[in-house]
Amino acid sequence: MIAITAPSQRFSRLLANPSAGAILLLVILIVAMSVAFPNFFTGINAGNVSNQMVFVLLLALGMTVVLITGGIDLSVGSVMGLSAGIGAYTITSGAPLVVGLLTTMAVGAFLGLINGIMITKLGLPDFIATLAMLGVARGALFLWTGGVPIIGYMLPEYYVISGLSQPFGFITVPILIAIVAVVVVAVVLKFTSYGRHAYGLGSSPHAAVLSGVPVARIKVIAYMISGLMAGVAGMIMAGRNTTVAPTMGLGYEVAAIAAAIIGGAALGGGRGSAFGAVIGALVLSITANAINIAGVSSSWQQVVTGGVLLLAVVFDRVSSLIRARSARLATRLAHA
């Protein structure tokens, strides 16, 4: 009896690990890609993938923090576009590059602050507040620019900062920025009381209130982190594209949520990690790269992103069902 159940239990436990599925998916993906496309596993392509994944990774990091607290941020794509637009505009009006870049990040964090205030002070559902921000920020960018892309802000240093010029080989400045962001978010989540409060809040809001956790502050900061990450991503993308089109960042919220969820963040809160966000962003970027190499229409990319998101959620649902069932089985055995 024990001999029969042991392997299946081990398998269940493996499935129950939130990151296990994503890592498995990633390995399969890499192996399949290497077999199918000989030029996938090359330094140049690795550099391509890394430089492309920076945007989704940064957004997914912020999204992971928000998801851990039990919220969701639908506005990241629009926030990314609007903050990049405002930052670029300050440079065209004569401000130094540093001021322009700081402005971009500050606008992102500020829009996140507004999201947080709408949710905690006005009591709006996360979904509605950030959906409104998605619409308003995007609309503002269109109205303000009149639909005409912003240009003329590309100072020489911006080429380096955005990774367009690569003085250190394929390790570009954006990749370094992303690494720093991953480390900072990982440290905050794992080693600070803010992180502990965020996990606990998402795990049980009721327990958080009774334990004296400053719930509103934790949420507002989570949305500010998400906004800041969108601002940083916008800053890099403005340099990468050399123009800020009013459509910049359109639809990126889906990729950000997908990457975070693939990486083990739960829609119900309480779970997720910076490491998971990296895995999730890698999975999405490699599939995008595959579509690119295979020469398939890039419209497929959205279909695939949506499909992978669906798969991740189904996987999450199945693994939590398995966990619940084995817990009930354990009580039954204990009473038998």
């Binding site: 795990s203 209130v209 009774l210 334990s211 779970r271």
Partner: protein, 539 residues
Amino acid sequence: MFPSNVTAATQVGLAAEAPIVEARRLGKRYPGVIALDDVSLSLRAGEIHALLGENGAGKSTLIGLLSGLSNPDSGELLVDNKTRNFTSPRQAQDLGISTIYQEQTLAPHLTVIENVYFGRELKRGPFLDERAMRRRVESLCEEFGLSKTDLDLPTGSLGALKQHVVQILKALAFDARVVILDEPTSGLEDSERQMLFDHMRRMRERGVALLWVTHRLDELFGLADVITVLRDSRWVAHVAPTDQTPDSLVRLMVGRSRNLAESSTVHDGREGLSDTEQAEVLKLTEVTRLPLLRDISLTVRQGEILGIAGIAGAGRTELARVILGADRTDSGEVFVRGRRVLIRNPRQATKLGISLVPEERKTQAILGSMSIAQNISISSLDDVSTGTIVLNNRKEKNAANRFVTELRIRCSGVTQKIGTLSGGNQQKVIIARALFNKPSLLIFDEPTQGIDVAAKTEIYRLIYDFVDKGGAAIVISSELPELVNLSDRIVVMREGRLVGELTGQRRNTTGGTDNELAEKIMAMVAGVTEQSRVAEETP
């Protein structure tokens, strides 16, 4: 009442030292309800203070005031002889008052150590001081039966006792001087319960003042140092357990009004009604669904009202869910009208003639923005459709009008929104919805929750009408007088088991409640065994 409290307290007079917490004539009102009225209480170091009372006696409100969840409207709360006004649970905690709530208030994804320090983490500079937290928890855990390997598990994976222990550690890690335990033994096995009592003794030895809410009177003896009894939101008595028996405590909790006590023999001789000849509508044999239901066997016959008594968490709602097929059974058999069935979901239960009038009308029953007619027809749309596809408004209205007349629902018309009706009329609409399914068995879960007295009587009449016309009813209610007056038979549930069966007062409409019967049920609900009763009565 207050002076007698003082004398009683001095009689008990265990400790001469000043109490840590002193509640003076606390009162709390909510719109339309007096939740607590003039209640006083003192908590002293190294003392286990038991708090008794029926459901709704005001225990939870009192705990809420002491733990900083809400503020009193009148009276004073003193901690260390200073008047305090708590604005958050955190303030109470900072003064050394920790509360272990009945519902789990741990974050299930966090580990034991993380939960103990959740909200009050130890830090070194900007970072968490994991080592200091681990050291402190490790120094406490083994004494309270947690192994070091447990400390890194998420609390959601621990059993009920261990989760309680985590909450105890959470209090002790911060040197709590007062620990409030709200029914800590509910959901625990017997052996686990004994371990919890040992933990409570350990806390007492450490000089902690414990306030202990419990329903199980047999637990008190040998453990509690003083007992405070509440009834109907008021303070009733402050006694020492040495002067009491389980029965005398039950009397204090239920209260005996002298002029009604004589009616206690009303039900005599009713057993001869030979309802055993009536057809069985539902029969359960040894139905089990762990961890909450064990070996439940019962029958409900045509024309009968079966009452189910028990405290919250005793398994009453879980039993209803199993009968409805909302949860599967682990083992045991279910028979409907003599035929063995496996009910997979509530829809199938409806087809078999079993319907539920759920508790929590607001969240589980009414569709607030829809009309009375729409609320009645929602689970029988086939019956108000043309060719089962296109809804037929006229059919729907006709059916609704029939119910409005039959059940005397007071409204301006069937198109009125249900949200604008009174609680009693809303409940009638929900009953109409259940009746529309033409059930042979109706399960009423807390049927008169939040309904005024006059409307309650009408709800009772609807239940009588239903069984008189050949239906059968199961009534789950926390209001003991209601259950006693309504039911033909009453089964008592405790910790997932049926622990007794009694004959009810059967549709007693005279208003007098059989107090002796109520006390008997209360004693069973509270786990006072026949043996302990006999032992107490023959000193």
